[in-house]
Symmetry: C2
Subunit: 263 residues, 2 copies
C-alpha cells in the first residue's frame, strides 16, 4: 500500500503563499483555489482572456497550477457562481469563459438587497429612478418591434382584467418590456433585480377599479413612447411608480399592524 502522504509539497506551497501575502490578506483570500480565481479575474481585466476562450479541464487547471483536482474544482465552482465560466461535461468539455449573463447577476443583487434588509420604500425609489430613465430612453430608442410588443402586452392585460394573478404577471411583463425598449442593458439588469425583490407574487388589494386605472396609465405610456415624447413618458412613469410606491408602503404598514394584532 502506498503512503498516501497528503502532499507535503502543496502544503508547503500554501504556507509560503500565506507568508508572501502577509498572512492576513482580507476576507480569507489566502487559499489556493482563491488564488486561481484571482489569476483568472486578472487575466480577464488585462484582456488576456475573453468570452469564449477555453480555460481547460479540471485536470488541466490542476496541473497548470500544480495543485490537486479538488482545488481546481473549488476554483471552478467559484468562477461558475460568479458567472465567469461555463462548464460542460463529456468529451470536449471543460471550462470556458462565459458570455456575460445579466440575469444571473440580477438574482445575485436581489439576494444581496434581501440580506441587507432594505425597505420597500428604498427599493421603490430606486425602481422609480430606473424606470423613469427607461421610459425616457424607450421613447427615444424603441423600434417598431418594441412598439408591437407593448401593444401586444396591453391587449393581454386587458383580457385578464378579472384574473388577479394573471393581470399582475402581465403588468410585470409590460414594465420589463419598457425597460428592454430602452435598449440599455444596464437599466434592464437593474430593473430585473429590483423587480425580483419588490414585486409581490400575489396582490391582495388589487381591485377591478385599480386594475382598470393601471391599464389606462399603461396605454397612455405606450402611446407617449410611440410618439417619441421622452419627457412626457418620464413624467407619467414617475407618477405611476409613485402611486405604486404609495400602495406598497400602505400594504406594508397594514401587514405590520396585522402582525401586531395577532401576536
Amino acid at each position: 500500500m502506498t503512503t498516501l502522504s497528503a502532499s507535503p509539497l502543496a502544503q508547503a506551497r500554501l504556507a509560503q503563499l500565506r507568508r508572501d501575502t502577509g498572512f492576513i490578506v482580507l476576507g480569507r483570500s489566502a487559499s489556493l483555489s482563491s488564488q486561481i480565481v484571482a489569476d483568472v479575474r486578472e487575466a480577464l481585466f488585462a484582456k488576456q482572456l475573453t468570452s469564449g476562450d477555453f480555460l481547460g479541464t479540471e485536470k488541466d487547471l490542476a496541473a497548470r497550477h500544480g495543485v490537486s483536482r479538488i482545488v481546481a474544482r473549488d476554483a471552478l465552482r467559484t468562477l461558475e457562481a460568479l458567472g465567469i465560466v461555463e462548464i460542460r461535461m463529456g468529451k470536449g468539455g471543460g471550462a470556458r469563459i462565459a458570455r456575460g449573463n445579466p440575469r444571473l447577476f440580477a438574482e445575485a443583487l436581489a439576494v444581496q438587497l434581501d440580506l441587507t434588509g432594505v425597505s420597500a420604500a428604498e427599493i421603490l425609489d430606486a425602481q422609480r429612478a430606473v424606470e423613469c430613465m427607461a421610459a425616457e430612453l424607450a421613447a427615444e430608442n424603441a423600434t417598431a418591434a418594441d412598439h408591437a410588443r407593448l401593444r401586444e402586452l396591453l391587449a393581454d392585460a386587458e383580457s385578464k382584467l378579472d384574473d388577479v394573478a394573471g393581470y399582475t404577471l402581465s403588468s410585470r411583463e409590460f414594465h420589463l418590456a419598457i425597460a428592454e425598449a430602452s435598449h440599455n442593458r444596464v437599466l434592464v439588469v437593474q430593473f430585473i433585480s429590483l423587480q425580483n425583490v419588490s414585486w409581490p407574487a400575489r396582490n391582495p388589494t388589487l381591485t377591478p377599479k385599480v386594475s382598470r386605472r393601471i391599464l389606462e396609465v399603461h396605454k397612455e405610456l405606450a402611446g407617449l413612447i410611440e410618439m417619441r415624447d421622452g419627457a412626457g413618458a418620464r413624467r407619467l412613469m414617475d407618477d405611476h411608480v409613485k402611486m405604486i410606491r404609495a400602495r406598497r408602503v400602505a400594504e406594508h404598514l397594514q401587514a405590520k399592524r396585522n402582525d401586531q394584532r395577532c401576536c
Copy 2:
C-alpha cells in the same frame, strides 16, 4: 480492502432528481450541490434564514442532505461566491449566512459588464438615472451632518484644483456623498457599482477650466440640497451627468481613433 463503491445510493438520487426536474432545467441546475444552493436561497427568500444564522459545518450539511462532503463543499463554494454565506475555519467554525456585502457585488457587476461588453453610454445613462434620484432624495432627506460632509468635500476639491488625480478622487467622493445623503441604500449600491466600472483612474482631458466649471456646478448642487430644492437638484444633476456623458463618449471615440491609427 473495502469495496469503496461510489455510492450507488446518491447516484440514484441524482438520477431521480434529474427526472423530477425535467432533465434540462435552466443553466445546469441539476446537480446535487446546486440543489442545496437552491434550498438555501429559497429559505432565504421565505425568511426562514436571515443574516447571521448558522448553517452548519461541511459535515452537517452533507449529513442533512444525505450526500458526501464534496457535494456540500461545492455548494458552500457557490454560496460563498454569491456572497450568501461566510465560512470560518477552526473550532466553532462553519458556514453562516452573511451580511449583505455591496463591495463584493460591485466587483461582480464590473466583471459581468466587462463580459457583456456594455458601452460607456449605457453605463452613464444608468448613472444619470441613479444620481438624479439620489440628488432629489438628498434634498429631501439630508441631515446636518450630510450638509457638512458636502461642504467639506467642496473645500477639499477647491484646494486640489491643480492636482488632476487628487481632484478626480475628490469629485468622486462628492458624488458618493450625495448618494449617501439620499439615505437610500439601494441607490448607494447601484451607484458604487456603476462608478467602479465607469470612473476613469486618470482623466487626461481635465483642463483647469473644466475643473473650475465642475466645481461651480458641485457648489450649486450642494446649495440646492441644503435649500431642500429637490426638483432643482435633480435638474442640475441631470445636466451635470449629461455633460460628463458627452465628455466620456468623446474620449472613447478619440481612444478608438488612436487605436486605429497605431494599428
